[in-house]
């Protein structure tokens, strides 16, 4: 039985492999399960940008881009299956949009020599390029995010947070636990009291957590949520009449679908963001060249939304890295190893983003051999329920590198010691 199934599956697999000689960008997406609300717009943006490249520019440096979509449902076992199924097709870069899957893939991509880009998620200490040769997490990571949130609160309180109570409401997984250490160190520095409250996967039941928040009356609640957890948390916050302007989500807890279910009650909710919001010229191109021709990955309704923009930004960074790699190696047909060189030499400045029709979509940053983490800057945005849109409250805020750099160093060196990795870039 096993053999029969296996041979049928093999036949199907072989039949599915089209001709090579494209630039292959696997998209490990999730359009099903409790995290689909975030996975769908991100994946739509990611794929549409590659379609735009093919339709408008005739590919990247003249070579067509091919996106291989594989459904992970945010599940690590399916993520591994997707990785193994696509890596043989000449995959140039993986962006799994899941911290759990990232942890699976880090050792695998290092052994297979394929770059992994985890934009604003994944393993934070991968920012240390001396240890993590194949992993990148520019332009920002979780610890930057936590620090940006605290810096914003410092600003709002005249530079003093001592005696304040801050609660972290987090998804009880690797993803949600990432910021705890940073927030603890920052608590020592700035003198606020931190309480961390976990929410178990998938986060549909948060009554007890919000009861605790109601009892403890913290000054601020910071949320590290994803998927259905965000919607429930915002609704529960509204139920206990927690002041929304004191409730700050991270950049994965600040999209339109997170706040929409709570209606007018969500007005004033804040969230971090690592990419700009609002209309950009590139969206018009996507509408003209992709959506109007019926080639959009989704139904086209997500264009311009927060996570769509971020997915498109992820694709844009991949395309720019590929172009850089083509320049460095002087060939349009790049391999995964060349792609890595391109990512390591990537520079995103204002002029480049302007030329791409996406002025100020992200902070300016440059990647180097030792620094795979980018600038780490983020903005704070606020939800305006009556107009139904996010409003940027700040310009890009810098994180507190004095706290984060030693943490990154410590964690990545522990990884290097565990896995016998000699630091590079010396």
């Amino acid at each position: 039985m096993k053999l029969k199934l296996a041979s049928v599956a093999l036949g199907a697999l072989l039949a599915a492999s089209p001709a090579l000689a494209d630039l292959v960008f696997p998209d490990l997406s999730y359009r099903t399960g409790p995290y689909a609300a975030g996975g769908i717009p991100f994946s739509d943006g990611y794929q549409d940008y590659f379609t735009l490249m093919n339709e408008r520019d005739g590919g990247i440096g003249g070579v067509k881009a091919r996106v291989l979509e594989c459904e992970t449902a945010y599940n690590t076992e399916k993520g591994v299956e997707c990785y193994e199924a696509t890596k043989g097709e000449g995959a140039l870069i993986y962006q799994p949009l899941s911290t759990g899957i990232t942890y699976q893939l880090i050792p695998k991509v290092e052994a297979d020599g394929i770059p992994l880009h985890t934009m604003g998620y994944g393993r934070t200490s991968a920012a240390n390029g001396k240890v993590f040769e194949w992993v990148f997490n520019y332009p920002a990571n979780y610890w930057d995010g936590a620090s940006v949130a605290i810096n914003y609160l410092l600003d709002a309180n005249g530079g003093d947070l001592s005696g304040k109570k801050i609660t972290l409401l987090y998804h009880n997984s690797a993803y949600g636990k990432e910021p705890i250490r940073t927030l603890e160190d920052l608590a020592q520095k700035h003198g606020y009291a931190l309480t961390a409250i976990p929410v178990d996967h998938p986060g549909q039941e948060q009554k007890s957590q919000w009861l605790q928040i109601r009892r403890e009356r913290p000054d601020y609640v910071i949320m590290w949520g994803w998927g259905v957890m965000n919607q429930v948390a915002i609704q529960e916050a509204a139920n206990i009449r927690f002041p929304m302007e004191n409730f700050i989500g991270n950049w994965w807890a600040g999209a339109e679908h997170d706040v929409a279910p709570a209606g007018a009650a969500a007005d004033g909710y804040k969230a971090l963001n690592m990419n700009r919001i609002g209309d950009l010229p590139v969206f018009d191109d996507i509408r003209t060249y992709v959506a109007d021709k019926g080639m959009a990955a989704g139904d086209g309704s997500n264009i311009g939304k927060v996570l769509y923009t971020r997915g498109m930004y992820a694709a844009m960074l991949a395309v720019e890295a590929a172009k850089t790699a083509q320049e460095i190696h002087g060939t349009p047909d790049i391999t995964a190893a060349m792609m890595r060189d391109g990512m390591e030499a990537l520079v995103m400045d204002a002029a480049k983003m302007e030329a791409l029709g996406a002025a100020g979509i992200g902070p300016e940053f440059g990647v180097t051999c030792a620094d795979h983490g980018g600038s780490g800057m983020g903005i704070v945005q606020q939800w305006n329920a009556s107009e139904g849109r996010w409003v940027a409250l700040t310009d890009y805020i810098a994180p507190d590198d004095a706290i984060i750099a030693p943490l990154v160093e410590e964690d990545s060196m522990a990884y290097a010691a565990e896995n016998n990795i000699a630091p590079r870039c010396e």
Partner: protein, 358 residues
């Protein structure tokens, strides 16, 4: 025609009670073993190992373990995911605490730790039965997952709460960690499966297994004829947890390499393995394999056919996959409530008479 007892004379009691009394079956068994041991390691690639065969083998071990408890001893358990987590975390702690000791010993050690934990959570089974016991084991599931999330010692105080398997070797060949070859990953799982399945088969038809089945069929009658319920139930919990612990250790160390307890060993894992043995057949070693194959390979096969073969959108395929697997489970259970193992037995009976059924 080939599949019959005629001409296959048994001259001793041992021969008469062997696992495969029919010659054809015996040779088929040896042929499967030979292919698994001598052919597959040479042709297997990363995709086949990581996506299909290694998870199938590991789930087969877990299904055999649960089948011992539920199918043979009649004690309903919903704590499988939690016990797999015990195996995984025990293996992780052993691997990192004693890096010089062979990984095989760590995996067996993880099984022993899980057996001890299983016996502890099996104690309520002496007082409560059926659905009430299911609820008690459900408590084990939630407690264990909570414990491994809550106490940082279990994940060596890592920032993310993830555990990841460092590289360990058997006879100089890495079997865990990123540099593992597909065949090494496959072979270590296969060796565990073969040894454990062989042990399970022989345990279940010996004294211990008979006492389990007596308890399952009617515990009061079993007690009257001299079966000690304490011993029978606790050994069932111990052996079952040992198997599940080994499956958990392999799942973490060899298959995934890094796990997070809530995601990898949640309640859905308990249900998945329970469904495997219900579909495969309660109280059957073959059923454990068939059920594991059904629930591990079929979704991947459907995905490859729908997305790879027909080019349908991935979300549509993912939803269809759930519907098709669900529908097939219902069809199977209506057509044959005793699972795939019973279909297999019926098939063999028919084959014995073929081509002259009357």
């Amino acid at each position: 025609m080939f599949y019959r007892e005629a001409g296959d004379f048994k001259t001793s009691y041992t021969q008469d009670s062997q696992t495969f009394p029919i010659r054809f079956d015996r040779f088929r068994y040896y042929a499967v073993l030979a292919v698994a041991l001598a052919v597959i390691p040479f042709v297997i690639d990363d995709y086949w190992a990581s996506a299909l065969i290694v998870p199938f083998l590991i789930y087969a071990i877990a299904a055999i373990g649960l089948n011992i408890l539920v199918g043979y001893c009649g004690q309903l358990s919903l704590g499988t995911g939690g016990f797999m987590a015990v195996g995984a975390y025990a293996c992780y702690k052993l691997m990192t605490a004693f890096p010089d000791i062979n990984i095989v010993l760590h995996i067996v050690g993880a099984g022993l730790v899980t057996a001890a934990v299983g016996v502890m959570f099996g104690l309520p089974s002496l007082r409560i039965k059926g659905f009430y016991l299911a609820v008690a084991t459900l408590a084990a599931q939630f407690f264990l997952v909570w414990l491994f999330n809550k106490v940082p010692w279990f994940y060596n105080y890592s920032a993310s709460g993830q555990i990841s398997a460092p590289e360990r070797t058997v006879a100089g060949i890495p079997v865990t960690g990123p540099n593992t070859e597909a065949w090494a990953q496959y072979l270590i799982c296969l060796v565990f499966v073969v040894v454990l399945a062989w042990a399970a088969r022989n345990l279940t038809r010996g004294t211990v297994g008979r006492s389990w089945m007596a308890i399952r069929d009617m515990d009061i009658a079993a007690e009257i004829i001299g079966v000690n319920p304490l011993k029978a139930k606790l050994t069932a919990f111990a052996v079952s947890s040992f198997y599940i612990g080994i499956a958990g250790a392999l799942f973490f160390a060899v298959y995934l390499g890094a796990v997070e307890v809530g995601e990898a060993f949640g309640i859905q894992k308990s249900f998945l393995i329970l469904f495997m043995i219900i579909i495969g057949g309660l109280g059957s070693i073959f059923g454990s394999f068939a059920g594991a194959a059904f629930l591990v390979l079929l979704p991947v096969l459907l995905k490859n056919v729908l997305v790879g073969g027909l080019g349908w959108p991935t979300d549509l395929a993912a939803h269809l996959e759930l519907m098709i697997v669900g529908a097939l489970i219902i069809v199977f259970l209506i057509a044959e409530p005793h699972g795939l193992a019973q279909l297999w037995r019926t098939g063999k009976e028919k084959l014995r008479l073929w081509p002259f059924p009357h």
